[in-house]
Amino acid sequence: MKILVIGGGMGGTILANNVARTLKDDLKSGKVQLTMLSASDKHMYQPGLLYVAVGKMTPDEMYKDQASLLEPSIQFHVDPVETFMLDDNQVKTKSGKVHSYDILVIATGSRMFPDSIPGLKENAEFFYTEETAVKLFHRVREFQGGKIVIAMGVPHKCPMAPLEITFMLDDFFRDRGIRDKVQIHYTYPIGRVHTLENVAKWAQPEMDKRGITYETLFNLKSVDGEKRVLHSEEGVDISYDMLISIPSHKGMEVIETNKLGQNGWIPTDRYNLNMEGRSNVFILGDTTNIPISKAGSTAHFEAETVGANIVAMVKFGAPVRKYDGKVFCFIQTGSESATYAMFNYIKPPDPKAPTRAIHWFKLAYNKLYWISARGLL
């Protein structure tokens, strides 16, 4: 039995480690082979980018060697897939090697796509790569006053990020003693300040209390960098001195070029997590087209489900679990407070009032993540 995992992000790594530990005897005897193909030898803790942007984490804290996170029985190769030959149960990599499989897991993630909004890439600050997060840190550190506008594309990765960067910047400028010189103006695509109603009910009065202004029903149409003005689909114009954007994202190019899914999102059964029409191909995390948060915890819980099902397919010949849509998101509500939202396909979230204790737990999780990636937490 050959199990092939494409992608060494959170979902692929947790799944591979869980399967490797559960099937350790089968891997040792050679009855099962488990291989991971990734585009990088490094593993990035992506939520760390938010902290790097406000100087609360150093860039090197976000990385570990991917091989060091994997069980030794996993055959790991830095050799990204370029061609999927699903009808033949094979993939072809950049180096030209062909890998065959009995079970395939695709967890290639997503990429930022600021190009979808004219003028955005050239005129906005971002924090979704190490380079842009470090650049944003320097910009806000040197900012002496004026109007900062937070604007986002749709769909965007990690739906909590817009609120988190807004509240963290509020605290950042208070710490610098220049909050009275900075206007923070938050925009959001729908008619409240967050898509989760219970989160919006908490966040809007919190913005009022902190003096953060906001414009809802604002969908970015274009950015005029010369005049420093944003234009929305709804016909509203907003001026800015510094624009910070959570851009839209899409699935990886290899998914699009192989015609596996529009915009790089692969059609996926929301309960079994198999690619529609293919019972031996599973999809994880950002790569699915399931209408839930593109967040690390989503990939984590999906990986646990698919991992258990792959083990069951080896041992029983059939999967045993269904994914219930579980998502757990920390919400950093400032530099010293946090809360969380937990929900699934049926049960809506009911976030509690932010506390310092949850903030500390989030900081602890930033370190514990590496245990989580190993599939131990």
Partner: protein
């Protein structure tokens, strides 16, 4: 006109049916129709409000066995 695109946002609290529609409407041509499926009652009111503000057409909504069907036409 292309075949009506289905936006199956049942069970989506986050990003939610309206966000799913905003993402999906960019992927179809002007004149194309979309049908949003939602298990969130609020969407039945929220989506038409957004359509009115942005200028797309609301073709009608109905509820069937706990699922709201909101029909939309991209007009610009």
């Amino acid at each position: 006109m292309a075949e009506k695109k289905l936006v199956d946002a049942r069970g989506s609290f986050c990003p939610g049916p309206l966000m799913e529609l905003i993402a999906a409407i960019k992927m179809v041509e002007i004149g194309d129709e979309l049908e949003v499926l939602s298990t969130d009652k609020g969407s039945a009111a929220e989506i038409p409000q957004w359509l009115k503000k942005v200028g797309h057409e609301h073709l009608g909504s109905h509820e069937e066995a706990g699922v709201w069907h909101v029909n939309v036409k991209r007009t610009k």
